[in-house]
Amino acid sequence: MPVAEPETRQPETRKLIPQSDSRARRKRRTLLDNLATKVVGVGGFSIIASILAILLFIFTEIFPLFSNAEVSLSTSFKAQDILAGQGDAADVALLGLNEHQEIGYILSRTGRLSFFAVKDGAEVAHELFSLGEARVTSAIQSLKGKRLTLGTSDGRAILVEIDFGVRFKQGKRSYAPRAKQVADITLDENRSALTSLAAAGDVSETLALSAITDDARVLLYLQQTEESLFGDAETTSSQIELEKIWSGTPASIALDATVRNFYMGSDDGKIYHWTLTPDAAPDFVSAVRVRNSPGAINTLNFLIGGRTLVAGESTGAVSAWFLVRDKTSPAGWRLTRIHEMTPHPSGVTAVAASARGKGFISGDANGGLHLEHTTSERHLASFSRKTGSAIELISYAPKANGALILDSAGEIAHWLVDNPHPEAGLKAFFGKVWYEGYEEPEHVWQSTGGTDEFEPKLSLVPLIFGSLKGTFYTLILSIPIAVLAALYTSQFMHPALRSKIKPTVEIMAALPSVVLGFLGGLWLAPRIEAVVPAVLLMSILIPVIVILAARAWDGVPLRIRNRFRPGIESMLLVPILLLAAWFCLYLNGAIENAFFGGSFKDWVYQTLNVGYDQRNALVVGMAMGFAVIPIIYTISEDALSNVPRTLISGSLALGATPWQTAIRVVLPTAAAGIFTAVMIGLGRAVGETMIVLMATGNTPIMDWNIFNGFRTLSANIAVEIPEAPVGGTLYRVLFLAAMLLFMITFAVNTVAEVVRQRLREKYQRL
């Protein structure tokens, strides 16, 4: 510090005298000064700007969650070019794409499967399936596009497996695609053409096939392959023609992945549901009219996971359905309309489900296409070629990042889909969503599951609830203690004691939260668990005992009382408090026996119908109290002790007791300061991470019960972000959670700060 050293200061001072200052030096000094002004200006401003830009950065990470998908046309070609003159649009039975969208395939009704390069439409390889005189009348593919089922005009179903034969050579991919026929099953003994097909399962285990014939019959075929001990495969199969219980004509069929449910959509707008059991006839469950004035059910498709059924109607309406548990229905389940998607202006002609998440593409008779997601109920994109030709076939790429689409004019278009966050959206984050397998719409947070079929449940509501619950119980416990302690310190305590007590409580604010969390979770929680009744008793008994102590103190002869300085009560209370606490603990067993039937935990379970969690809101409230009490205490103490002395003297001079003065004069004057204190305490409690992470079970449930755990926004971020893939939906949702926290605390603190500044001005005026 140069200021403190006189010998260096002496020559400096002389040099600073302008007369001896050379022109060059003066110039240099001015230059330096200007430079410094600029550096400090630019530097300081940019530092502050960049600190505040945190919010901006977080916002840019969140933004993509709410933006729509981008769909762009990559190429298009004529179907007959690929078919090499062997037919036109009407002759295409199926389209498909490989994982990298480099190889596509096209199946003609003559049974020729040709693979072509997507970039130019040139054929790479082809395969011919011998159908004899027959033609392919219908064809379907698995979600990943590698297993095909062909229905023929003579009642057969042919199963085909595709291998794109990808090879890597010096970082480049090359393909040698092949297709192999794995089974040829005669579905219809009458040899009618199969106009519509559905398939589920696998040839090596359970295989189910279903078809609609051109004479409006519905066929079912079940095949079970069991491997015997000796490794021989034994196949049993059954063939059923469903009894005609429907009105209208069958228009579409679907089989779920578990091979337990079969659905048929009719042209008068009903969905019929059968359950399937091996070695027994299908059991008709119910028929559901999709809406009051329905069109024909043109399409029925399962989304990935085989639970959600998407029905497309000739009116253009698209809805998603699944089975919901229902005790009143005889089967125990009821097919329920869960989501109503954005309707098409004309009839739905084709639907293709995504192999990544609960999304699909639907096409209509005017050539319009919709990209939809059921869980978030988001309409992500509308796109079309604007030619007005009806959509014939849609093939969604296995990674859901592109699609091949054939229209009635014979144009095959390759679209690129950029749809990174279909499952996001305001409704998914904050609204009640009806998830697969749930009985009603709910707020649920369950971000990751084991399989691709998992439906992410991204409701932030349980987490916000958890943050609020933790804050609520913390404040309930902390505010009385902190504010009363502050009132005592500022108004009644002996000044000599005050100068020691205040820093002690303030040091508490410096306790690392990880320490509090550890003690809360591993020390406090098991101990509280054993003595909950005693803890409840303490909250009533301790105040009573304290008042009794005050009464007793009144009875003590003045001679003895005068030996103690006034304002020492709190120290006298320390042994009394300890004694009272011990007394409550001592009574624990007796209370438990007398009021709670011997076991408090059982009592909680039976009366409140929730289990007692060892790490619960009570424990968090107490542990977080250590962090929040000193904050509220310090700020309210400052506000209370800064109330102008003149006000207090005036009140006392008018004959008010110290308590009356404290409660009628001091407290109302400093009320704003106490409000500030509570707000800042609240800000700390909302964002606290380690304590809640360690002292709660982190289960994202919504229940106000004090004996349950919860999961807060902050703990959720800490738990999930290390595992979240960068740029993925979960990653961005966690950023959204962070931004919510930022905004809540920032708003709360700003309110507190403004109130505090007002208060300061008020004190100056008084």
Partner: protein, 544 residues
């Protein structure tokens, strides 16, 4: 009675009780941590219990509690049970056992009982059988054998150091060089045309160097194998109280003592030895035993790097706000905003650090300068540098606020005096104002450090790990490894207390770590208060 209520005294006493409760809370917490944190190093006596069913158990008595009611209403109120640390994890698989007092027939503390702290499997409690060298018994009696045991302990300790040196520095260096050569090779193949004679020569050179290093590595490995062979030669035969004989290589023994024969003085010696190991040693047994030196080192390094980053940023911003910016509504708004940033949850800064520093800046750095190591990230993953910067961002509001207060406290006369002597604004700032504002800056820094030392949540997502293979500062070029992951006291508490497979055995360690962290943080806070008061007094003189 009405007089009593009217006087307001009961309410005053209630408020007093609130304060007393707060004080009790803090005192109780500190006492709890002090007791739990310090008591675990004390070598308590080994009790041998003979049970009613004829079996014997030996261990340290850790706890005594009333047996919780098995069924409500049953009269076993006066029944107690003991929590015994039986150790011998390799035999019993659990470290602790509850024993009802009613089951105990006899309680002894036999003098020849021995406690051994091992490198693996925790402690062993039992009796001495013999000391064997190459399979032959050299000592069968404990009293005679003790000097031999101590001598071989010494020998083995040296051997362990030798092995550690080879493993850590020799083989570590070779591995480091190999990795560098491999990356160099990759860089050449990535960057240049491999067909030219020059690059081919270069590649061949590197390959030859790698082959040399590999040969060297094999040599070292052979030497290591020899050492390991000799480490198994001296074996201590022990028997547990229930009759299991077990051979413990002396090499595996950390320390050995006879708890029931030790004097208080001797116990103090062991206590201090254990305490010293705790502070300076490496962790063992997935962090549940040994020391926490890497965590202390990581915490200190983190705080130092953070301080280097936070002071210039905070001071520059504060100087701008207070001295250069035009005062007005805007600056006031910014001041409130900066103030409030101190209240934004730390996890939010952690998320920002992860997104901006690690994936943003780190990912870019990797692509520009460390492309040969990709897809393994260098800076594109959590590390001490990014964690420090995140903490710096978290604490910069504290420094700004404190510095501003310091600047505001500099009397106007001093500035005007300097300006009147024709010093420029910058000269006044640099030579007069900033030195006077030093206490504010220092207070800000110390408060920032105290906050950073106790913060865990943002570190969990920016690079802290449960076990770091190497310290961020060591003898290999470039000595300071900013990209490395690190250990941290606070995270150590969380990890060992909540993620460790054997929480019960680990908890004593956590209490000690907690105590250490608490001491550091409280000390830093007190130091901040002290420095502020001290400098205030000093400046009060120099200003006039």
């Amino acid at each position: 009675m009405t007089q009593f209520w009217k006087s307001g005294n009961p309410f005053v006493w209630l408020t007093g009780a609130a304060l007393a409760a707060s004080v009790l809370m803090i005192v109780g917490l500190v006492l709890l941590i002090l007791f739990k944190g310090l008591s675990q190093f004390w070598p308590s006596t080994l009790a041998e219990l003979h049970l009613q069913d004829g079996s014997k158990v030996m261990g340290e008595i850790w706890d005594r509690e009333e047996i919780p009611d098995a069924e409500p209403g049953a009269d076993n109120a006066s029944q107690y049970r003991l929590r015994l640390k039986v150790a011998n994890r390799d035999l019993y698989s659990l470290d602790f056992r509850w024993i009802d007092e009613s089951d105990i027939q006899q309680r002894l503390s036999p003098p020849p009982a021995i406690a051994i702290e091992r490198q693996e499997w925790g402690n062993f409690y039992g009796y001495f059988v013999g000391l064997k060298k190459d399979g032959e018994t050299v000592a069968a009696d404990l009293v005679d054998g003790w000097p031999t045991i101590e001598a071989s302990l010494d020998e083995m300790r040296k051997l362990r150091e030798r092995i550690k040196e080879i493993e850590k520095s020799d083989i570590g260096d070779i591995n480091h060089d190999l990795e560098r050569l491999r990356l160099g090779l990759r860089k050449i193949t990535l960057a240049s045309d491999t067909t030219t004679a020059e690059t081919r020569q270069l590649i061949a050179d590197k390959r030859a160097q790698m082959a040399d290093l590999q040969a060297e590595y094999l040599d070292k490995e052979k030497a290591l194998a020899d050492f390991y062979g000799s480490s198994r030669k001296i074996v201590l035969s022990m028997v547990s109280v229930d009759g299991h004989t077990i051979d413990i290589p002396v090499y595996d023994i950390v320390r050995i003592w006879k708890p029931n024969e030790l004097s208080v003085f001797g116990k103090c010696g062991i206590y201090l030895d254990k305490l010293w190991e705790f502070v300076t040693g490496e962790p063992r047994e997935s962090n549940t035993e040994g020391g926490i030196f890497p965590a202390i080192f990581g915490t200190v390094m983190l705080v130092i790097i953070m301080s280097i980053a936070v002071v210039p940023l905070g001071v520059l911003a504060a100087v701008y706000l207070r001295e250069y910016a035009r005062q007005g509504v805007w600056v006031r708004a910014i001041r409130i905003a900066v103030n409030n940033l101190a209240g934004v949850p730390s996890i939010v800064y952690g998320v920002f650090g992860l997104g901006f520093f690690i994936y943003g800046l780190g990912g870019t750095l990797d692509q520009l300068f460390f492309s040969e190591a990709l897809p393994t990230p260098t800076f594109g993953t959590g590390g001490i540098f990014w964690a420090s910067l995140t903490l710096a961002l978290l604490t910069v509001p504290v420094v700004i606020v404190a510095t501003e207060e310091g600047l505001a406290a500099v009397p106007r006369e001093i500035r005007e005096g300097s300006l009147a002597l024709s010093a420029t604004k910058f000269e006044t700032l640099w030579r007069v104002v900033l030195p006077s504002a030093m206490p504010g800056i220092l207070t800000g820094l110390i408060l920032a450090v105290a906050r950073a030392a106790g913060e865990v949540a943002p570190l969990m997502i920016t690079g802290v790990v449960k076990l770091a293979p190497a310290l961020p500062l060591d003898g290999t070029f470039p000595f300071l490894h900013l990209e490395r992951k690190f250990m941290h006291l606070g995270f150590h508490i969380y990890d060992v207390g909540f993620q460790s497979p054997n929480v019960e055995a680990a908890i004593p360690m956590v209490y000690s770590t907690t105590l250490l962290l608490l001491v550091i943080v409280v000390f830093l806070n007190l130091f901040a208060i002290y420095v502020r008061n001290r400098l205030r007094e000093k400046l009060a003189y120099s200003a006039f």
